[in-house]
Symmetry: D2
Subunit: 137 residues, 4 copies
């Protein structure tokens, strides 16, 4: 485990071109948890101006990966699922992920995605991820 | 159902800002099936230069949605899952989706994502989507 | 909603032949939550003497259904998933389910399954269920 | 791999007490595929006389496990999901599973469950399973 997991995760986040394009911002990371923020932009949207379901999945997959890294080192996504609970419409989104079980061969995580509007969080999606620990390069 | 489902789906695809940014291209659509293409670009990648797992989900969610539209009219994604089977590395990707069951209240679909290299398709991901039919606007 | 949700759910539980065979016992039910208990018997096991993964799914599906009934009336299971986190070995099991979101057309729930041994609960599985509200008969 | 995978899977099937109780019958097994049959009995049912969703999951999980064993040796279920597409009502059920990808650390499989009535198969459920290869005992 890293002495400063937030700094480590922020650095990892900057190495992924897609994350830089999307504007993913690591809010917190450590002890099997991570929070990831995203500000709305028109090119993140689908037909109706809601956040694209693919972006909900990218937030969940990424936040879960970061939560896993804080306890299991480098990991690869193996499986994830997304539940779209309510229209993902707002000026800002936050994904909050936590490790459910960090096994030797698989790490199980779950996440919630909130719309943040006027300081209030409204749940719009949930998801789960299974990740595989890999030997550090 | 539309007389020319491919033209209809291509038009829908152009209305989603994220799809235009990603460069999703509708290859075929009709009779409960759809194929969606995507050319590799650096800003679609994660740490290791593979296609971001979020983009795999976006391909699956989008192709499944288009397959559903051809038999059930307008739909909203309710749930989807992604299995990452092999490194998604290549110059071109194709998601192939089909409707498993179009019910009155839910449409079940599944998809495969292939890397296309030198004319050969290699399976790199599978996924499923549950969609909700909505009244056309 | 019923005036006495626990009594209602206990009565429903007795109408399902599989639940009677398994020995599912409704521990609590109300306000979008439900707990279901199961005592180990040899005929619930697989090769290695652990609880059969199918029984983990049955516990999750059933507990989630009961949680949903307390807020949404009669429901039908549409989709569920099970994560097997640790060997499900013990003398007693408890599934604890709660509604994440009760929409008009879908109810989303999640559950945890614990082994209970010497008064301590150990998490062995998690799961999710999507249910469809149906008109009461 | 075993010289006679069907005989091997039939023998494994007899070692699981739950499978004996349920009456699971291995119809075929080999080359990453397996078929499992189940005859309706009242104690397999839920409130409405349909096959319990937990039994659909048990069929899917078990058939997928057997498909995996034919190419990957002993495995443990790690994750599975079930889609309930149509009422599972009939005198006989068949689950047909196949391996999608057998990796070193995970085996991905999928399955379909049919009601068999008058010699005709009707699709009532689909599912997926992720399994972990384990060292043979």
């Amino acid at each position: 485990m890293n002495a400063d997991p937030l700094a480590q995760i922020k650095a990892i986040n900057q190495t992924a071109a897609f994350n830089r394009w999307a504007g993913f911002e690591v809010i917190s990371a450590g002890n099997g948890e991570a929070e990831l923020g995203l500000k709305w932009r028109d090119d993140l949207g689908q037909y109706n101006g809601f956040l694209h379901a693919g972006m909900l999945g990218a937030l969940i997959d990424t936040a879960c990966g970061y939560a896993a890294v804080t306890v299991a080192g480098f990991v690869l996504a193996s499986h994830y699922s997304v539940n779209c609970l309510a229209p993902a419409k707002g000026s800002e989104f936050v994904a909050k992920a936590r490790v459910t079980k960090a096994g030797r061969r698989q790490v199980f995580t779950s996440a919630e995605v909130f719309v943040v509007e006027g300081g209030e969080r409204k749940l719009v999606a949930t998801g789960e991820t299974i990740l595989i620990p890999v030997e550090a390069k």
